[in-house]
Amino acid sequence: MQHTVIAKVENKPGVLNRVASLFRRRNFNIESLNVGRTENPDISRMTIVMENPDVDARKVEANLYKLVNILDVQDVTNQPTVTRDLALIKVAAKPEKRAEVANLANIFRAKIVDVAPDSVIVEITGTEEKIEGLVELLRPIGITEMVRTGQVAMLRGDAPGVRHTPGANGHSPNGNKPHANNSNHTNGKRQ
């Protein structure tokens, strides 16, 4: 089963490396990982999709929190979300096949964004299944290249995601964050 996790992270150099290194070290397999900017320039957002049924989401969440740069983690698997994947698909379509490709693209509400003498590029946005559907139909015509962004996900309305480790990173059980801890610099000596 697929797990989708959204992580808000500090927009600092090396954070992606830390997340990737964590997943490698703890043996979590990633299906896709998407990183991008958010409404706040200091915060980036990751959508992580995992295919591994053995790894429970709680474990992933707790490990992500252990990274100092991770601000918030939500499991949105089975939650009301909008999820989208974007694909660019280059199809080996000579002039006589263009109409067929255009037709298929139309049905899927995809767009042809580039036309060359021997090929076209189709752009499609949607859920994973929708994209898979178009890919299957284009395959017989001849896909020479494909690139996908991986899924991005957003919860609908103000639905909350699931936080499996209340207490991690100062979250109270209802998901609200208390104010930042204040540290003092006493370095107490043991007796």
Partner: protein
């Protein structure tokens, strides 16, 4: 106030209460060492960077403060790696400062450039690459905070040379703001109540006390809890000292070389209370057969440890001391007389098999040496060890009445740890008796630090258990590899002569009757002393849970006397 980056580093160290650092100079860190001469920080020049980081680790474990190691870029920094991994596995707060090539050279394979933040990423709690002096103060202040708070651990700061030379405004923050880092403290009341219910229902409870007890300073709370609920306390290697060994509820060490009765108690328990421990494979044995009838309560500050190895019924995530203080008032006093009597019965059987109850013979057994040493030092010395048989004998026979007395590499099992960590412990407590118990294998890994010990005038006593073997591996070969001693027969120098070269008084002991005298000699001689005990070569650590076996399927010491190894 504008200061050079190198001065800022030292200002930060002083503000963090650092009085001593362990390090080794080199091209990319020279400005920091140069500036240090003008600050009240004592720099201990070790003979290898690994010695520096081990010493910082030993200092941290003995003092409870953050230990600091300094090295240059490239090989200087990579020589720290083993020590950083050691501190990571045992959750020890250290800060490592490494030099790096100038920022404009990064990525260009300049002389002594190594991607140190990349190398240390998975073995540090956090690390920083500082490319300009402006970033230094924040990085260092955060590093100390991260190292010592929550589940402590090593933090590395890699400082480009230009950042040490250029000037920046220095203003030390009195508060740290890390929005993504907030270690939990209290556990929710509902979870505490659930735990209290399990505790009330239990008939055969056992507490598993780990390193977390001493890390959070929860020794009094542990004792209070154990006494109120009449619950015996088993300890991990790093948990030893959490409860005085002589306490009636103390079960000693659990696990692969733990006390047999202690492992039996765990396997027969109906409730395990894991306090600041992580169910390492060395303490659980085969997981599927581990404590099969026990419910589990896990008190742990690191949420990733919950359900990692052992599924638990009630997790309590937070600071152990805080949680124990929260839960003690809500647990009912219980009476486990019957259970304690049962454990006592197992204990008597264990003692009958113990080597200490054997008559003294021609052969010098390590266990006897350590037992006599314990008596002679009243069990009150700070002990550091290397890794191997001698480490396990030290854990078994040096009975600790006090916390923070045993400094040993647990999770990583890092050989060569003993001497340098003793040096660190001495700087933490120069007034105390510091001994390192070493094996001949471990000792030869870092005996170069003898020079550092002499240069610093450190009052460290070395108890060397010499069996001319890499004993622990040899023991496995004896039991599991048909006694094929591949690569384990190790020769050594004449250790007494080596000490002579370093101007360290030394003695060699081969007979039981001389064991005590030699220790008296060491105690009465000021400064470092080495006593080499040439012990039975093919002795084994018992009991032993073979890897993959259940915790109570222990190989026991034969009850009748036969020559060990035959």
């Amino acid at each position: 106030m504008k200061l050079s980056g190198a001065k800022i580093v030292n200002e930060c160290l002083v503000r963090e209460g650092v009085e001593v650092v362990f390090g080794y100079p080199g091209g990319a860190i020279m400005p920091v060492h140069d500036a240090m001469m003008d600050y009240p920080i004592h720099h201990v020049l070790t003979r290898h960077e690994q010695g520096a980081v081990f010493a910082a680790d030993g200092y941290a474990r003995a003092s409870g403060k953050v230990g600091v190691a300094i090295a240059t870029s490239g090989p200087g920094a990579t020589n720290l790696v083993t020590g950083i991994a050691t501190a990571m596995m045992d959750s020890v707060p250290i800060v490592c400062i490494t030099g790096q090539v100038a920022a404009h050279l990064l990525g260009g394979d300049a002389f002594q450039e190594t991607d140190v933040t990349g190398i240390t990423l998975p073995i540090t709690k956090f690390n920083y690459l500082v490319t300009s002096a402006d970033e230094l103060t924040q990085a260092i202040s955060e590093a100390f905070f991260i190292a010592r708070s929550g589940r402590p651990g090593p933090v590395l700061i890699d400082i480009c040379k230009n950042a040490q030379i250029e000037e920046a405004e220095f203003d030390y923050p009195d508060k740290i703001s890390l929005p993504g880092y907030k270690p939990p403290k209290h556990a929710p009341l509902k979870d505490l109540q659930n735990a209290a219910e399990l505790i009330a229902e239990a008939k055969r409870p056992v507490i598993l006390a780990g390193h977390g007890v001493q890390m959070s300073g929860a020794m009094d709370e542990l004792k209070l809890f154990a006494e109120k609920t009449q619950t015996p306390v088993a300890m991990t290697l790093l948990g030893l000292g959490s409860l005085p060994a002589s306490h009636p509820y103390g079960l000693g060490m659990m696990g692969m070389h733990g006390e047999a009765y202690c492992n039996q108690a765990i396997q027969n328990a109906d409730l395990l209370l894991a306090f600041g421990m992580r169910f390492d494979d060395r303490v659980t044995g085969h997981l599927r057969t581990y404590a099969p009838r026990a419910k589990k309560i896990h008190v742990e500050i690191d949420p990733t440890e919950i359900d990692k190895n052992v599924k638990v019924d009630v997790p309590l995530v937070g600071d152990l001391k805080t949680i124990l203080n929260d839960i003690i008032p809500i647990v009912e006093p219980s009476d486990h007389e019957e259970w304690l009597d049962q454990i006592k019965e197992w204990k008597e059987e264990t003692e009958a098999r113990d080597i200490l109850s054997w008559p003294d013979e021609e052969i010098l057994h390590s266990a006897h040496v350590i037992r006599d040493f314990w008596e002679k030092t009243a069990g009150d010395a700070i002990i550091t060890t290397g890794v191997g048989q001698h480490q396990m004998w030290a854990a078994q026979y040096y009975k600790l009445e006090q916390p923070y007395r045993l400094i040993t590499s647990g999770g990583a099992g890092t050989m060569g740890f003993g001497l340098p960590s003793a040096l660190g412990a001495w700087f933490a407590h120069p007034d105390r008796e510091i001994w390192t118990i070493e094996g001949d294998g471990s000792f030869q890994m870092t005996l170069n630090e003898l020079a550092t010990v002499v240069q610093e005038g450190a009052n460290i006593k070395i108890l060397l258990i010499n069996n001319s073997f890499l004993g622990m591996v040899r023991q496995w070969q004896e039991f599991f590899f048909d006694k094929r001693y591949a690569a384990t027969q190790i020769t050594g120098p004449d250790f007494v002569k080596v000490c002579e070269a370093y101007n360290i008084p030394a003695r060699r002991v081969t007979k039981r009757e001389d064991v005590m005298d030699a220790i008296t000699f060491a105690k009465e001689t000021p400064g470092p002393v080495l006593i080499e005990y040439q012990v039975e070569k093919e002795d084994a650590v018992f009991p032993m849970v073979p890897s993959g076996a259940a915790l109570d399927e222990m190989m026991r010491r034969p009850i009748t006397r036969t020559k060990v190894g035959e």
